[in-house]
Each structure stands twice: as C-alpha cells, then as structure tokens.
Amino acid sequence: MRKLIALELAKNNIRIYLIAVAVITVVMVGFTYFYASVPYMSNDEEFMDYSSIFVLVSMLITVSFCILSAVMLSKFIVEEYTGNRAILLFSYPVSRRKILAAKLIFVLAFTFVGLIVSSFVTFSIFGAIEHFAPIVHIGVFAEALAQVMKFVLIESLLAMAIAVIALFFGFLKASIPVTIVASIILCALASSLSNLAMNALQPIATVPPMLVAVVSPLLVATLLVVVLMRKVEGMEV
C-alpha cells in the first residue's frame, strides 16, 4: 500500500498543491488581520477577542481546504477513472480497490494535515506579529490558539468527510465540475449548521456537540467509500 501511495505521488504533480496550501495560508493571515481590524474601521463594532477571530478564520480555512481537496480528488480519482486514463489504470495487474484506497488515503491525509498545519501557521504568524504590534486587546493569544486548534482538528475531520461525499457525486457523474460544486454546497451547508450550533452555545464550548455533528458525515463518507470500492471493482471501460 505504501508503494501505491508513493506511486500516486510520483504520477501527480504535487508541487501545485503545496503552492496552493502556501497561498491559502498567506491569504488567511490577511483575513485574520481583516477581522481583527474591522472594529478600528467602524466605531460601532464591538472589539473581538482572539478566540472569536480564530474560529471565524478557521472556518474560512476549512472551506478553502474542502475546495482544494475536491480539486485534488477530481484530478486523482474522477479524471483517472474516465476514458482512456481508466484503460491505463485498469491495465495494471494490481487490485483495483487498493489503487483507489491509495488515492483516497493520499488526498485525505494531505487535506487533514494541510488544514491543521495551515491553520497553525496562520495563527502563529498572526501571534508573532501581535507580540510586537498588538491590535487585539481581548483574550490571551496562547489560550485562544490552544482552543482553536481543537476546533481545527474537528474541522479537518469534517473536511475529509465533505471531500469524500463530494467525490461520490463527482464520480457518479464522471465530472470535475460536479465534484467541486458539490464540495462548495456541502461546505455552505456544514458552515450554516455549525453557525447554528455556535449561536446556540458559546463558540468554544461547542466542541462536544460539534464532535457529534462530525461523526455522522464521517459515517456517511465511510459508507460511500465502500460503495465506490464496489463500483471500481466492477467497472468496465
């Protein structure tokens, strides 16, 4: 399995995705500053604390990674299982399930790790600059970072589930646009749901209910992976 994953790495140009992660991180530092400085621009706004800013930004990061993940799954899976590319893939004397599993493991691990690292780097850069030129005066940075990283961990799981569900629709339609649009719609759905949860409870206290909200999409995603495996096994090209 490790060899199959390494082959996916060799076959695909990974550099563009790493660049995408770097770009997302830089843009998100910008967004963090945007949220932090909103109160300075309009006098009637309340000043926000570190945690609220970070939770908002972490949701933006999650949406970005859901879309990145959908793009990668389109490239690694949807495209590979259509037309002449599928002929090549199915000509290898290797278990079809294992090849699909290798692709999924690679893209999902990339999404999961990428989201966590990108969030951590975004907030750390912001925090480092805050150390010298603070503009947020409510809350303790280190505490807020520790809290938001728990939130980010849950969001990474959610992002993986969303990516798989979006892939399923894209795979059925053999279409890259469907994969990406499905991912965006699911993100919108998930973020409005978590907004509801956040309004009902205090943002950081929502970790246990969020966990429950993440388990059900993960179960759906697992089920869809099983269905996809079956489909690939019986596919004719």
Partner: protein, 243 residues
C-alpha cells in the same frame, strides 16, 4: 503449437445493443494475428474483453490457459497492450513514465528502460516531458510501455495511427522481430488491409460482432485469386459474395 488466446461463444451487450455475438477466435502462440474489421465491427471490444477491461456477457475467454474473468491479474501480467489512444503522465519524461509502469507491475529495476526506448526508435528524449511529444512519438512510447515487461502476448489496437511511412515500417519490423526473435504472440487490429497483409501469419476477420473468417494468410491469398484487397473488403463488409 496450441492456442494462447481462445474465445468461445463470446458475446457482449451494452444496454440492449449486442456488440459482440457468438464470437469465436483462437490465436496460436508465437504468431502474428491480424485482426481485420471495418470501423465499428467490434475489434476494440474484443481486445478489451481479452485484456479484462470488459467482462463478457456470455461465453468465455482463456489467455494462456487462464480464464480472463477469474484470473484478471495473472492475465494482465502476461499481456502488454495499447488499447485506443495511449495516455501518459504528461508532466513526466518517457523514462519516468516507464519507471512508474514497471513499479505497478512489480518489476522496478528489472527491465532495461533505455534499451526498450532504443528498440521502439525513441532514444535520447532525456528529460523532455511527454506533453511535448508528437503523435508518432507517443505511439512509440505506447509500444515501449507495452513491451517493456517482456509479455507473452502483445495486444495492439490500431498501433500505426499517427505514424509516418518510415515509422510504420519500423513498427512492422519491430513486431516481426518480437514475434520471431522473442517468441511474443502479437495480436494486432486494424482496418488497414495492407498493414495486416505485410506481417500477419493468421488473419481473423470480424464483421457484425463476430469473427466470420479465421485462416492463414497463405490460404487467404490463394483464395483471393490475385485480387487480395477486393476479396478482403468484400469479406469485411459482411462476407456477402456479390462478385
């Protein structure tokens, strides 16, 4: 010699369209089998059935004694193929493409990539990306990929597409050398009669989803009574003798 590819009462239906029906064919080990048919006669479908990309609706296929449905992976190890237009990893070089292919076959480091590229007439492309290759170069790389693991059987679907006359002759000589020197069984499909005429030992003619004639080139020539092309065209268009 016995047959290395054997199809019996083969049929394949897509939806309610029967593309292959009651098709029998047998390819003997070590020969070059020319598979002739008009566009849409079912050549590619039969080749896909042999290399396990499609599953027969009924009937069976044996490749080197193994059922193609049950022993998919063992069958694939014995086959090198170009089906339809070969695709590559565009951002990689010819060598890297072949290296990845070998890794999937579990043969990394066990084949001479440079020698294979030389053999198909594609030496010294170095680190040049496949994306920049011409149609002819891609076809040659496709052949290199099909033969690099020294398969027992080579399945080629219209392999001379995109090749210039020099290229066509080189491929023809390569196939003859593979069959005669390396003992590879070659099954080559085409709708171009002259291409088959030059190299095939046995000719199978497919029309309307079934092999309607399977005989040695020698016998076919004798039957044709001097007008080989007309005779074959007549057979390919359904075998109705309107002469």
């Amino acid at each position: 010699m016995g047959s290395i590819i054997e199809a019996r009462a083969l049929s394949k239906t897509f939806g309610d369209r029967e593309v292959i029906c009651d098709c029998n064919l047998s390819v003997r080990a070590g020969e070059i089998y020319g598979f002739l048919g008009a566009n849409g006669a079912g050549k590619t479908t039969v080749l896909k059935l042999i290399c396990t990309l499609l599953r027969p609706t009924s009937g069976k296929i044996e490749v080197d004694g193994l059922n193609a449905v049950t022993y998919r992976r063992s069958v694939l190890m014995k086959i090198g193929s170009i089906i339809e237009v070969p695709v590559f990893y565009e951002h990689l070089s010819a060598t890297e493409n072949l290296r990845i292919h070998l890794a999937y076959l579990g043969l990394e480091g066990k084949a001479d990539i440079a020698e294979t590229l030389e053999r198909v007439g594609l030496p010294s492309t170095g680190s040049q990306k496949v994306a920049t290759f011409s149609l002819g170069m891609r076809q040659r790389l496709g052949i290199a990929r099909a033969i690099i693991h020294k398969p027992k059987i080579l399945l080629l679907d219209e392999p001379i597409n995109g090749l210039d006359p020099v290229g066509i002759r080189e491929v023809r000589e390569l196939l003859l050398s593979l069959a005669h020197d390396d003992g590879v069984t070659v099954m080559i499909s085409s709708h171009i009669i002259s291409e088959i005429e030059h190299i095939a030992d046995t000719v199978g003619i497919i029309a309307g989803g079934s092999v309607i004639r399977e005989t040695s080139m020698h016998a076919l020539r004798a039957e044709s009574g001097g007008n080989f092309e007309d005779y074959l065209i007549n057979l390919m268009s359904g075998g109705v003798d309107n002469a």
